[in-house]
Amino acid sequence: MTGSLSGVATVFRRELATVVRTPGYGVLAVGLLLVVAGLLAAGGGGATGFVPAVVDLLLPTEVLVPLVAVVLGYRALLSDAESGELAVIRTYPVRVGEYVAGVLLARTVALVAVVGVPYALVGGVVWLTAAPDTGIFATHTGVDSPALFVRFLAFVLLLGAAYVSLAAAVSALAASRRSAIALGVLALVAGVLGGDLALLRSLAAGGSPTAIPESIALTPNGAFRGLVFEHVIAVAFAPEGEFVATGRAVASLIVWTLLGAVVSGSALAYGRRVDAAIEEIRGGFGG
């Protein structure tokens, strides 16, 4: 293994061990399972098939998954910085980028477990219990299928990965646990509501509705919703136009994920210099 990969792998192992030894994350997964199962039971879509189940879960998922991702990520980079261990780690031959990559990968794997397992279990229950028969793998429009739920799950994890990365960025920028929570909540609200509000404002200001498939893809939630409509729900009927530009939506989720990683790395790499520069400026004004 090369030096960089070895550094990433070593940090990844430590971070994953930390996650595994944190009982709260197990509780989080169980809680999510109960909520998702409850939503399906209340909505009744799960008894009918995968597409109705996805319709029931779509909007709650846009809140639940970012929430879980923020819980998983808001202290990811803060804890070592807060305890002073980051200063120790930085005396070792591991670059900031490797450290951030290792932590983010481990937290993303945790997301796959905490979010992916409950959703997969619910999907399994739908497969076993829904009527009419949902055991057909869709090959053409109009047929409900487990593959549609797998697609939905993939989009859910992409959305979650973007929020884990953004939450990690928050944790790198925060100076304390309290500020990390405040920034995390702010990021959550802005992410969940901000895109839709901006879109509504744009339409109210005379923006063209034909631009929606392009502009909706710009935010993580918009991209996720568009992809689910385009590639899961729309399979059940013949839509007149596209809900979202698929390539743009997938790219958007990937870019948000990378953006979080870059902000995290930059905050850790240059935070001390920025801090010293602020002090110098303060000194220039006479303290």
Partner: protein, 264 residues
Amino acid sequence: MSDEPVAALSGVSRTYGGVSVLESVSLSVDPGVTAVVGPNGSGKSTLLRVLVGATEPTGGEVTLPGATGPKPIGYLPQRVPFREGFTARETLAFYARLVGDDPDAALERVGLGDAGDRRVEALSGGMRRLLGIAQSVLGDPSLVALDEPASGLDPGMRERAFRAAAERADADTAVVVCSHALDLVDEHADRVVLLHRGEVAVAGPLDRLLDEHDAADARELYRVVVGETSALARDEGDGSDGSGSDDDGDETEPAVHVTGVSDR
């Protein structure tokens, strides 16, 4: 042995919230044991953090001409920061993997061979410090910086901690130790840097400083130069649990740490 110092600070200053903590500190760190002493709040921990790169100075520069290798610096902060939930061996294994070292050998070196399976939070304060020292010397760094390695320990343990640190010093390795334990400074230090109000009051070989100030030992030197004895009443070893949270050194720094200004 090279003529170059392992590390050098030139006109280094640092402020927190506009309050000066270090002021125009110029130092040369040579191989051997250098003890940094001074009253609480004199800037010892900040000096060490600047030296290892954990804190960016607001003025001056730090160079490491003689610190080489894949891991040129070893550092133990005043508060031993290891994650709870991990055993001593797992903790060292994480760091050892980054430099290709052997965690078990490192545990043995500081006498923690039998405590490898104990969780970090179950270790006594002294054992945590020894674990921290074991971590700091992994990868054979040329510069080892230890902040209060004997803080909060009983007499036997503080001697053991200090000795474990001092044993690392050789012709190519510099060990810099912040300490209030002036008896251990007498016993182990080759050179002393005495900080007072963020400035270097005196610095040089201990023997020379004792001669110049007509002092019998480091304690008397301290008294002559700083002109006070209050800080000495809180010698290392008087702390409670050895966790390093006993406000024994430059933990006064957070008092001038303002919201929004972080030193990480």
